[in-house]
Structure formats: C-alpha cells, structure tokens
Symmetry: C2
Subunit: 336 residues, 2 copies
Amino acid sequence: MKVTIRDVAREAGVSVATVSRVFNGSGPVREPTRQRILEVADRLRYVPDSTARSLIMRRTGTLGVLLPDLYGEFFSEVIRGIDGAAQARGYHVLLSSSHANRNEIVAALRAMRGRVDGLVVMSPDIDVQGLSANLPESLPAVLLNCAVNGDAYDSLNIDNFGGAFAMVQHLLALGHRRIAMIAGPERNHDAAERLRGYRAALEAGGAEVRDEWVLPGDFTESGGHAAAQRFLELDPRPAAIFAANDAMAIGAISRLRDAGLVVPDDVAVAGFDDIPIAAYVSPPLSSVQVAIAELGSRAVERLVEAIAMKNQHVRRQEVLPTRLVIRASCGAPRSR
Amino acid sequence: MKVTIRDVAREAGVSVATVSRVFNGSGPVREPTRQRILEVADRLRYVPDSTARSLIMRRTGTLGVLLPDLYGEFFSEVIRGIDGAAQARGYHVLLSSSHANRNEIVAALRAMRGRVDGLVVMSPDIDVQGLSANLPESLPAVLLNCAVNGDAYDSLNIDNFGGAFAMVQHLLALGHRRIAMIAGPERNHDAAERLRGYRAALEAGGAEVRDEWVLPGDFTESGGHAAAQRFLELDPRPAAIFAANDAMAIGAISRLRDAGLVVPDDVAVAGFDDIPIAAYVSPPLSSVQVAIAELGSRAVERLVEAIAMKNQHVRRQEVLPTRLVIRASCGAPRSR
DNA sequence: TTGTAGGCGTTATCAG
DNA sequence: CTGATAACGCCTACAA
C-alpha cells in the first residue's frame, strides 16, 4: 500500500498537521519533533502525493506547452529553452505538439484545462481569434509567434519583418537586383511577415517586385527543393534566393547544385533562423539569426510572472530582435 | 468561482452520483435525465477536475518522459514519436529533458513521482545501475537506448552495432582499406556500440585497426569539425571516415572542404541516424537509417501496455533494426 | 434507475 | 508549539 502522511504521523507519534508543517515549512515545529518526523518519513520512504496537494492548493506546478507541427532544429531549440527555464523555476512541462489546425489546438487546450497553471501557446497559423474564445480568461497564457491583434494577450514574437528586410537589403547591397523568395506556409504568421519584409526591402531599394518570383514553400527541406525546381524554370532567372527558413534554403541549394549551378557564384542564397547546422553546410549559409532557445525561455519567464501576479499584471507584446549572419552562400554576384 | 459537479447536479435536479455516471459512462442513466444533465453541464461550462479525478482514481493519465541533453533533429523526432503515440492513446506527456548526468536524472525522476502513470527514460549514459535503485518498482517504465544488463526492464534499443558494422563493411567493399572513425561521447552507450561495430567490421574484413584512427567526438557539428581537423594531421591519412552520427559527419565534411579536399573523391564520409537533412547536404550523406520517431512511439506503446497490465506482463528487450542509406558522400575511391 | 455517504491524501483554520 | 477537523472535487459501493 501507499505510504501517506498519516502513516508518518502515527509512526512519529504526532498529528498529520505537524507532519504537513514540517514538509511545507509552514508554521513552527519544535526541532526535536522535526528531526523525528524527517527521520520516520525517510525510513518509510514517504513522498507527499502531488495530486492531493494540487487538489487542495489549487496549483499544479505544471506549465502547459502547445506547439504546432514544427520541424527539425527549431522545434528542439524552443523546447530546450522552455524546459530549461521551467525547471529552473520549479515547474514541470506538459507538452502537446504536432497540432496542424485550430481544431486540434483547441482540443489540446481543453484537455489541458485543470492540469496546468499556465499556458505557452505557439500558433503561427493565422487565426488566433478562435483561440481566444477557447482560452479560459482565468488561465495565464503567453502567445508565441502569433498574429496577435491588440494587447489582449501576453505575446512574444520574432522580428520577422525586420530580419527579412535586413537580409534582402544586404542582398541588394551586394549588387543582386533580381531576388526571388521561397515563401513559408500560406497561413503561417511568421512566413507572412518575412514575405512582407522581403517586399518592403525590394521596394525601398527600388528593385523589381514580381509575384512570380515568390515561390511557394512549406518550411521543409523537400519544400525548398521543389521551390528551387520552379526557380530554375523562371525566365529571366533571378540572381538570388531568399528562403523563409534555413531548411528550405538548404533544400534549394541541393536542387541548384544538381542543376549544375554554383552557389553563390551563379545564385546567391540566404535563409532565416540560423539553425546550428547552417554554419556547416556547403556553402555555409547566410541567415537571419534568432535566439530560438531564448524565445522559449523568455516565454516561460513571462508566464511564471503572470501566474505569480494572478493575471493582475500588465500584458506585454514583446518582439525579439534578429541579427544578420553573413556567410559564403550569399557572396557578391560574379563580376562581369 | 469554479463550477463543480455539485453545481451541475443541483441545477439539473439530480444527485452528483448521476452526473458522475453520465460523464463516465459508468452505470445506467435514463436517457432524458442524461440529456438534461449534459445540457446543464454544457451551459455551465462544467469540466471535470482532472486533479480530483486522479486523486481518487489513482491514475493521472500522464506519461513521464526523461531525456538527456539531445541535439537537433534526433531530439525532435523522438519527441514527435512519443507525443503522437501518447495523444493517440489519450495520454498526456510530462517532459523533462537536458539531463547531463545521473544525479539530474534521478532528481527529475523523484520530481515526477506521483504525477505520472509510467515513465519513458532515455539514458544513454552508461550507468543504469544507479538508475534502477531510484526507479520505484511499482512504476512501469521503458528504457530507451540504455545499456540494459539483464531482463529486469522493458527496453528499446537501436541496432547500433549492426548498423555500424554494415556501414563499415560497405566502405570496405567500396575499396577503402583505411577507415577512420569519429566517435561519440565517452560514456554514451550508443556511441560505444557503434564504435564496437566499426572495430568488428574492420577485423572481419581483415583491415587495419588503429587506435589513432578513432577520433574523439561529442555528437555535435562542431565536434565533428574538430575531429576532422585531427584527421587531417594523420599520416598516413585514411581514405574514409565513419562518423558516429550525422551531425558530426556534416561538421567533418565542412572542415575537409575548407582544407581543399573533395568528398567523396579524396575522402569518403558516412554518418549514422539518417536525419532528414542528410539527403540535402553536399554531398548527400550516406548514413545508417534508424526510425527515430518510431523509437519514441514504440516506447509509448510498450509503456501503455505495461500500465494496462499493471506491470504483471513479461518484460521485453527489443532492438530496432537499421538500414543502410547509400548516397554520394561515400562514393568509391578515386580510381588510380 | 437514482441517491447517500464515505473516502482519496493534503493543507489550513481553529482551538488548546 | 501541536492537534482535531473541515474542506478540495470527484468516484463508487451500498441502499432505496
């Protein structure tokens, strides 16, 4: 049978209240009594039942994390950041990932109700409106990479627009005039912002903007590969490609190489995210660096704060800066 | 205030027992009554409190997952497999990752006690013995990639030895006689097995085995990069490199290229894991494919089974097969 | 078919 | 300082 606080109390010759006080540091307990209780508890291998605790304390000590169907290193880095920060603050992490559409997110959200003290929700799919209807007002939450409209939620975003703008600006400065883009998923917020940054930079630089130069993609290597295929059929063919993320950039480079093109001599390529592997591919990939792990840890910090404040705090919309990392893949165009 | 089962009962003019029966499908309830209760519950937005449920039912509906400090795509794939399988079976996933040493694993293990119905533990660090002392006998568990000694635990392993053996055998068949290896972390079980497979294949093939050809590594790209640096200083220099994982293989290729060497013409390279990106790097990387996501989902399947059987089932030690994926990076040596 | 009442293991509020 | 005892929200015999 399971050993409960009663067993310890009986064995130590005290009441359950005293045992409880010892384990919670609440209320005073005479030192000898304390020692005896601790000794007995240890001998009996007593561990407080966390379920019973959360029932009466109305606190689970758990943070819920809802993630979409993420790929590769981005996913693991975000989790690493979240998990690390949560552990540091004494919280557990209840993870639910691979949610493709809103219905799945909402379902997962309901399933987590009551099991967590707060929620980190990453839902780059554009419709957050429906989400808000299913987010209990009482449950603290931090939104990650969402198209957040007003100041109704705590949110954390990457500076997608600024990063894309800066990278395209850099490509222009290198002398590339015709720049294609491999876009991210249709309804993805990050993807949309990066596309917007691309367009804005082209306009600001007085470069040509053509719809046919925006190739559809899906954030995967194979998607980038397929997009590069379409790129090859373009006429005239742009001199550079800006991919909405690194995975697609790498997939694209693979296809270009198969076609006998040399990056960056024939086509310059740049990505977004600066995943760890970007520095090691061939040629090393220029990218827009975002502190992925920090995105996760920062979200947890904010969430824990919101929980402590019992939601009586001021909601903030934070935007994490990006940084250009220039490597060989976007080298200056072949001089002529 | 929170809406409880009592509120629903009162509002519907029945007892809490009936409401409970409706929500659990336990016991018979007259249809009209059922409908009325459901309607009231819906209107009141009643959701059963999972904490109270698990307290009395002695079941949390949650699976604990303990992972070491994993890198990149391997990590995300395992999680994807675990999470998917858990969701499919109606379980939640409590994640705790980035555990470097045994102490941390043990601490996380204690912290999870009582919060989960079972445990998936991945602990490739060689000392499982200490782990067993801290695993409550009553808690079902499945060990992943552990150096499991006997049949005391349910376990799941990759065929590290067989995969490494097959790949090195393939390199030998291509005509490479001198083959170096970039090893994984010192105390890592998978790494040790892959090294053993490498050595066995060399011996079986009558090829030379030299300790200096085993370069230390740590499963990261930068580790592979550094190992390749040491490889370049070898004299005579082997014609091929077998890296204990893909990340290191990619890091190594990067360093070789910087040195002006062409893969596979000057040096053949092969990796292990076959992470998704392996097919898209330059040159495409030959690797040993393991169904990473399946490793995770299979573990969950086994765990759920163990939970259902209340640990009264026969423990099994399962080994997942690997498959050689040959791409350009290990092409035949330059003819001469 | 439905209701009553006794826990599940803790914490918290009072008295003592 | 310590001990009863009432919640916390729910499930489940046992009765009716």
